[in-house]
């Protein structure tokens, strides 16, 4: 096939640069001495200092991590076991449940927030980490489930049958053959789910309690109340961590090759 023309390459770069403009500005203005981004009054680390001393921010970060890890972990267990169990059966109920389980990522987030708000009050669940984890798990499941399901369809059953034929017990077969082949799918689903959970504002706002803040909620409320360069500093720190993690995983991937 013909390679891209110069024009299309330019297009790709322009859109990519636009995609990065707000990120770059955020990084630049995190070093701005002035509170308002309208004026640049010199380089300063004061927002990083402020961030380092902001205990509520630290708390929110820890909450976000707890939330993302628990809902991802829970989703991995639920989605993977279901995908495995549904694999070799034809059941109408399985199809219905699969369809229902994808609703949380199909309907607008605000509806999901509304739905959870209603049902958690009805169940009398205390709003806080528990309700957050339940809500986030519902929208993490479909990401992991769809990836694992696709992977299972892709690998077929031959390898496992070969393992059975060679005398392996069901658990050994799962551990030695099935799990290694679906692990990449679980991981990429979980990474996506993690990102979604970490970034979610809309649903979290409705299901969190007064005392439990996540980082995303904290950012939202700060942004709504006015310009806060501390957020820019926070975003820069998170960005550096993200890029470091991505680069690290790329390097390990290259080494494995």
């Amino acid at each position: 096939m013909k390679k891209n023309s110069l024009l299309s390459t330019i297009y790709l770069w322009i859109v990519t640069i636009i995609l990065y403009i707000p990120i770059i500005l955020t990084v630049i203005y995190s070093f701005n001495d002035n509170k308002s981004p309208v004026y640049w009054t010199g380089f300063s680390m004061r927002w990083y200092e402020e961030l380092a001393h902001d205990r509520s921010m630290k708390e929110a970060l820890i909450n976000s991590l707890i939330l993302a890890f628990s809902s991802c972990g829970l989703s991995i267990l639920i989605a993977t076991s279901a995908a495995l169990a549904m694999r070799k059966r034809e059941s109408k109920w399985d199809k219905i449940i699969t369809y229902l389980s994808t609703l949380p990522i199909m309907i607008p987030e605000i509806i999901l927030g509304m739905v959870f708000l209603g049902v958690f009050s009805f169940m009398n669940l205390p709003f806080g980490m528990l309700t957050l984890i339940i809500a986030h798990t519902t929208f993490c499941i479909p990401y992991i489930f769809s990836m694992v399901k696709a992977r299972l369809q892709g690998i077929g059953t031959q390898l496992e049958e070969a393992a059975y034929d060679l005398g392996a017990r069901p658990f050994r077969v799962f551990w030695d053959v099935t799990l290694p082949s679906i692990l990449p799918a679980i991981l990429s689903g979980a990474i996506l789910a993690f990102a979604m959970s970490f970034d979610d504002v809309v649903i979290s706002i409705f299901v969190t309690g007064a005392s439990t803040n996540t980082l995303a909620i904290k950012i939202y409320t700060k942004l709504k109340t006015g310009v806060t360069p501390e957020i820019n500093a926070l975003a820069t720190v998170l960005l550096v961590v993200t890029i470091a993690v991505i680069l690290l995983s790329e390097i390990t991937k290259k080494k494995e090759e």
Partner: protein
């Protein structure tokens, strides 16, 4: 080879069934139920069945909001197609090395808080902000454009937030394209443009459609984009639902609004399934 697995396997299904029924299915049913109830004095609702909430949506104030939201979602989607489709297409035609690099470039913003990224645009669009300074510095404009807190700013923010989904969705379907089909069309006498519309475009339709779903549906509910870039000037269905739940404390009315929004969403998804085939999945993320 048959392996005994019947009961052990249904035990594995239990968590998924329980979780989905308890936290997805029943809550939605419950929301529909609430939407027919009467508002209580302080918070919650009284169990008086009424159609009042649905009647209220027909009031011009709310009806207009629905129409405006739909219009915004439609505008956003069209623009996202125009920007995202070529991008996904060109990206899929890069060399393997550049594809991986581009993919990484696309993923990094995903990991940055979408709120922070929107705030970056606040810095740009602000009166006397970066854009105004550049334009005025170049002598193109003489006074601040006042772009922030306007309808175009909200549309821009929506496009910015949702375009990556379209790009990834189109990319994954172009990536799967069998290029020999395009060669066959060219060989049979179709010029490049005709071959593109007859073959490539039609073959990547599922990706485009799932991108449309991934753009259109969220754009009706992303209240924070309207919040941050539109100030209080642009009010969407999402904003009303949020307002009714927080300030208005009218849960049944918020539920009724949600039900209508959900029906609209389901119609779009049903339409998508009809066009793209019964077992089509929203593939942008898969």
């Amino acid at each position: 080879m048959k392996i005994k697995r019947k009961h052990s396997f249904s035990a594995l299904l239990l968590p998924m069934y329980l979780f989905t029924i308890l936290f997805v299915f029943l809550p939605i049913v419950y929301m529909i139920y609430i939407s027919f109830m009467t508002r209580a004095e302080v918070w919650g609702f009284d169990t008086h069945v009424t159609l009042q909430n649905y009647m209220r949506i027909l009031e011009p104030l709310y009806l207009d909001t629905f129409v405006r939201s739909l219009k915004l979602a439609f505008t956003t989607t069209v623009l996202v197609i125009l920007i995202g489709y070529p991008f996904g297409y060109f990206m899929a035609k890069l060399s393997a090395k550049w594809k991986a690099r581009m993919m990484m470039l696309m993923m990094i913003p995903f990991w940055t808080s979408s709120l922070v990224r929107l705030n970056g645009w606040v810095i740009v669009f602000q009166s006397n902000g970066v854009l105004d300074k550049i334009l005025m510095g170049l002598g193109i404009t003489t006074e601040p454009l006042k772009l922030l807190y306007s309808y175009p700013a909200v549309v821009f923010g929506m496009i910015y937030a949702l375009c990556p989904f379209m790009i990834l969705s189109v990319y994954s379907s172009v990536e799967k394209m069998d290029w020999s089909l395009l060669e066959a069309a060219v060989d049979l006498g179709a010029n490049r443009r005709k071959a593109f519309f007859d073959i490539t475009f039609k073959m990547t339709m599922p990706g485009l459609l799932s991108g449309v779903v991934l753009t259109f549906i969220p754009s009706m509910g992303l209240f924070f984009v309207a919040d941050i870039l539109g100030g209080s000037k642009v009010v969407l269905v999402g904003n009303i639902i949020q307002e009714q739940l927080t300030k208005g404390r009218n849960v049944p009315f918020a539920a009724a609004l949600s039900v209508i929004l959900m029906i609209m969403t389901s119609l779009i998804i049903a339409l998508y399934r009809k066009i793209a085939g019964a077992d089509a999945n929203i593939s942008g993320l898969g």
